[in-house]
């Protein structure tokens, strides 16, 4: 059942979008915006989740969603006021719906008791307002309430089902003439149906012919059109309804329900009586009253000429014109047919079969005209991304192969290559844009987190979000949720002070956490900023010293102390709480962010707050780099971290008191890393002919890398080392150059970290 699996995948995708939307809507509702648009959107979301869930038989989910939906319906039309209590109940209900969705996704059940409290509250709320609305109980293994709806729908059908009742005396004489005299001895049950459509029936595009066709599927049907209401032509109204029908259905199997179902859609739009007659044999002679009837038709199943007359009748019915009298065959033939035993019922109608054939030969599977976007498997997009990456490499390889003599000789080719380069670049951007998504999908989960945190900590916190529309690679987005959650927890737990304390400090009682996203060059900056007390540096340093992260004799700067919260193993015992201290420190945030090629920077001002910034690459697949040589091997350094390049002979080296080599750049001392040494290779070039690549690592800390040669800038496609080889300290990955050689990507952040670690140890 892979189709079903596909639908399920679509459904769960859709559910997660709808749940996100619910979050947003309730965030706005809590903010006081209770417009009917919002309430309708909330209702629709739950309605859709329920609707799809019913299709897959997720009965627990459907039962809960149904009860919740009933509540929302009451809220929507004002029967229940959306006060604080109801809002909180709804938010909890959203969580429960999410749990049910997740359980359904995992193929597990949460049990009948799950969400029972909330459902009781829904029922209490809704039954107080409208006793007639009762949510059906969702049994565990039943098909769920939605499945029952068809049955429910039948109950109120206002078909006049006079089961077992005798034909009322008031019924017309024609009927009595037809049937009353017949001997009641045969073995076939029979139904008499009188049908008089109203004009609404036609206005809703219902068609008597179709009803008769369906009835004919139940047994042997005789249709008699009653035309005595037809006025003289002069009095004819174009849309007047003048034709009614008497039908006789002979069927051993048809039930009252089946017949009622045929007329289900026209209930209320016609006069209808359905009367079972005692079984009898159809042996009566042609009745005199039949002669008065202008048309008698048998089901289309039997013979070609009757199909024609049936169709003609249909035409006549549609146009409500008296011409129907013309093509109708002489009564004798159909009556004769009528008198024969039912052999037709067994045969499927041939006229419909031909229609079926037509249907099947029709054009297949054309996408709707209304669809403006398509959903594509991410794997397919990644394949394109990869191939475009290879294309970029090939293109740069071709460009490299062009030496000056070739350039001079093949100017057309050169021009072509330039165009190719441009197009490739454009293609690359376009492909990357496919993967990009607004950060909104992550940001929208945060208001709820902040609300919960505020509740748990007893603090008053408001969340501001800025730049939700900023787009970033989908993979990055997916990796963003956990780090952001952790950072916000940290801000709420450690940053924002209690309302009392804030008051005494002269700050507004309500603390603010600001979540923002912006694009800066090839990076996306995502910041979590609070107006709390800032990092308690004394305590951080104390803990770091205690844990041996910082040597007792070193005195780190404030900035370095702030960075310590990201150090591995820095777990602040004092700050372990229900919320943030779960044994996972900010080092996890850092390593998660590093995994997706980003970095974290923290800036804190005592008494004024903390700002943590995530710097993330726009895309994960392609990197702008500077190609350098170290001991004859090519290395690449991400352009985004390079500040400037300096020739070694002009650089101003010195020694720090610790003996480490430093570089003086415009009055500032910078740590020096000789890449040849660092990667344990011998450099043949003397220092005077080498270059310094000045890089900026996280937190604005600069680091000077010494390389043998600088070759140039280019774009490379990142290949993971972990996937192809193994992780190497100081190397972020590999790439294949235009000439086919492999170059390693220098991990500037990693070089700095290992260096600092060594110093500290």
């Amino acid at each position: 059942m892979s189709d079903l699996d596909d639908f399920k995948a679509t459904y769960f995708d859709e559910c997660s979008e709808l749940l996100t939307e619910l979050e947003e809507q309730f965030a706005a509702i809590q903010g006081g915006d209770r417009t009917s648009d919002r309430l309708n959107a909330v209702f629709r979301a739950i309605h859709s989740i329920k609707g799809g869930g019913g299709a897959f038989g997720f009965s627990e989910l459907v039962a809960f969603a149904h009860a919740y939906e009933t509540l929302l319906d009451h809220v929507r039309d004002g029967r229940i006021e959306l006060g604080e209590t109801v809002t909180v109940l709804c938010i909890r209900a959203n969580d429960i719906v999410a749990d049910f969705v997740n359980a359904a996704k995992a193929g597990t059940k949460l049990g009948a008791g799950y969400g029972a409290d909330e459902r009781q509250q829904f029922d209490a709320l809704t039954s107080g307002n409208a006793p007639e609305v009762r949510a059906p109980a969702g049994g565990d293994d039943e098909s769920g309430p939605a499945m029952d709806e068809f049955d429910l729908d039948f109950v109120p059908v206002m078909v006049n089902l006079e089961t077992a009742a005798p034909v009322p005396a008031a019924e017309e004489a024609a009927m009595d003439d037809n049937f009353a005299a017949a001997p009641l001895v045969a073995d076939k049950p029979q139904w008499e149906i009188r049908f008089a459509p109203h004009s609404e029936l036609y206005a809703r595009a219902n068609d008597p012919l179709l009803l008769f066709r369906e009835l004919a599927n139940l047994g042997e049907l005789t249709v008699v059109a009653r035309l005595n209401e037809i006025p003289p032509l002069a009095d004819f109204e174009p849309f007047g309804i003048y034709c009614t029908w008497d039908l006789t259905l002979v069927s051993p199997t048809a039930t009252a329900e089946q017949i009622a179902e045929v007329f289900e859609f026209v209930e209320g739009n016609c006069d209808l009586s359905i009367v079972p007659l005692a079984p009898r044999s159809v042996t009566s002679k042609g009745d005199p009253s039949l002669a008065d009837l202008a048309a008698i038709v048998t089901p289309p199943a039997d013979a070609a000429e009757e199909v024609i007359s049936f169709a003609d009748l249909a035409d006549a019915v549609k146009k409500d014109m008296p011409k129907r009298a013309v093509p109708v065959p002489a009564p004798a033939a159909p009556v004769a047919k009528l008198l024969k035993p039912a052999e037709a019922a067994a045969d499927p109608a041939p006229s419909m079969a031909s229609e079926d054939d037509e249907r099947r030969t029709g054009p297949e599977d054309r996408r709707g005209a209304g669809v403006q976007s398509i959903r594509v498997d991410l794997d397919k997009v990644d394949r394109v991304v990869n191939m475009v990456g290879e294309l970029v490499i090939t293109q740069s390889m071709l460009t490299q192969q062009m030496d000056d003599t070739l350039r001079a000789r093949y100017q057309e080719l050169v021009r072509g290559l330039e165009v190719l380069a441009q197009t490739t670049r454009g293609l690359q951007d376009a492909v990357m844009a496919i993967r990009a998504q607004p950060v909104k999908s992550v940001f929208s989960r945060m208001p709820r987190l902040v609300r919960e945190l505020a509740q748990k900590t007893g603090k008053k916190i408001k969340l501001e979000t800025i730049g939700e529309a900023t787009e970033i690679d989908k993979t990055v987005i997916e990796q963003l949720s956990d780090p952001l959650t952790h950072m916000i927890r940290n801000s709420a737990d450690h940053g924002i002070e209690t309302p009392d304390r804030r008051k005494s400090l002269g700050k507004p009682e309500i603390g603010t956490i600001r979540l923002s996203a912006e694009q800066a060059g090839g990076n996306i900056l995502i910041a979590v900023e609070d107006d709390g007390g800032g990092i308690n540096r004394e305590r951080v340093l104390e803990v770091a010293r205690h844990k041996g992260i910082v040597a007792a004799d070193t005195t780190p700067t404030d900035e370095q102390i702030d960075q310590l919260i990201f150090a591995p193993g820095f777990s602040t015992a004092e700050t372990v709480s229900d919320i943030s201290g779960r044994g996972v420190g900010m080092d996890v945030v850092l390593s998660n962010i590093k995994k997706i090629g980003g970095s974290v920077h923290v800036k804190s001002k005592t008494g004024q707050g903390t700002r943590m910034t995530l710097r993330l690459p726009l895309t994960l697949a392609v990197l702008d780099v500077m190609l350098v040589k170290v001991s004859g091997s090519p290395y690449v350094i991400p352009l985004s971290s390079i500040v400037e390049t300096i020739q070694c002979s002009r650089a101003d080296f010195g020694r720090a008191p610790s003996g480490a080599k430093v570089l003086r750049v415009r009055g500032e001392y910078v740590q020096v890393v000789d890449l040849a040494n660092r990667f344990q290779m011998m450099s043949e070039a003397d220092l005077g002919n080498r270059f310094v690549v000045l890089c900026e690592a996280e937190g604005g800390v600069k680091i000077a890398l010494i390389v043998d040669d600088i070759i140039g800038q280019q774009q490379v496609v990142i290949k993971s080392l972990e996937e192809n080889f193994e992780s190497i300290d100081g190397i972020a990955g590999g790439t294949i150059l235009g000439d086919g050689n492999v170059a390693l990507i220098v991990d500037v952040q990693g070089l700095k970290a290992t260096k600092l670690h060594k110093n500290a140890a």
Partner: protein, 119 residues
């Protein structure tokens, strides 16, 4: 035969598409009533299946608009609904809906209901 399906739920649209195209129908799709009207303005369809609860333009408004134009008086419109209360469905019928299909629909049932309202 061409069916226009109007629903804001991708899941339902996908399932309708699957069921209907397997049964040999040509399927057109729209995500709300307004888009449904747009499709009807440019395409001939034999039957419409529409959801009630939709953003932008709900199913009831959609049906009203279709009928009001006068061009589609005999176009069968099936209302797709999970409403337990009959209000919505009755509103849909009053607006000119021909019949209804209760979600979740059984594929066979869906096809048979369509055949009930289409020649």
């Amino acid at each position: 035969m061409r069916v226009l399906t109007v629903d804001d739920s991708r899941t339902i649209l996908a399932m309708l598409h699957h069921t209907l195209s397997n049964a040999g129908f040509e399927v057109l799709q729209a995500e709300d009533g307004q888009k449904g009207l747009d499709v009807l303005a440019s395409e001939d369809v034999d039957v419409v299946i529409t959801d009630i609860n939709m953003p932008v333009m709900d199913g009831i408004e959609f049906i009203k608009h279709v009928r009001a134009s006068g061009e589609h008086n005999s176009l069968p419109i099936l209302i797709l609904t999970t409403e337990t209360s009959q209000d919505k469905r009755d509103q849909g019928r009053a607006a000119g809906g021909t019949g209804w299909i209760v979600k979740p629909f059984d594929p066979e049932k869906l096809i048979s209901v369509i055949h009930r309202v289409v020649h």
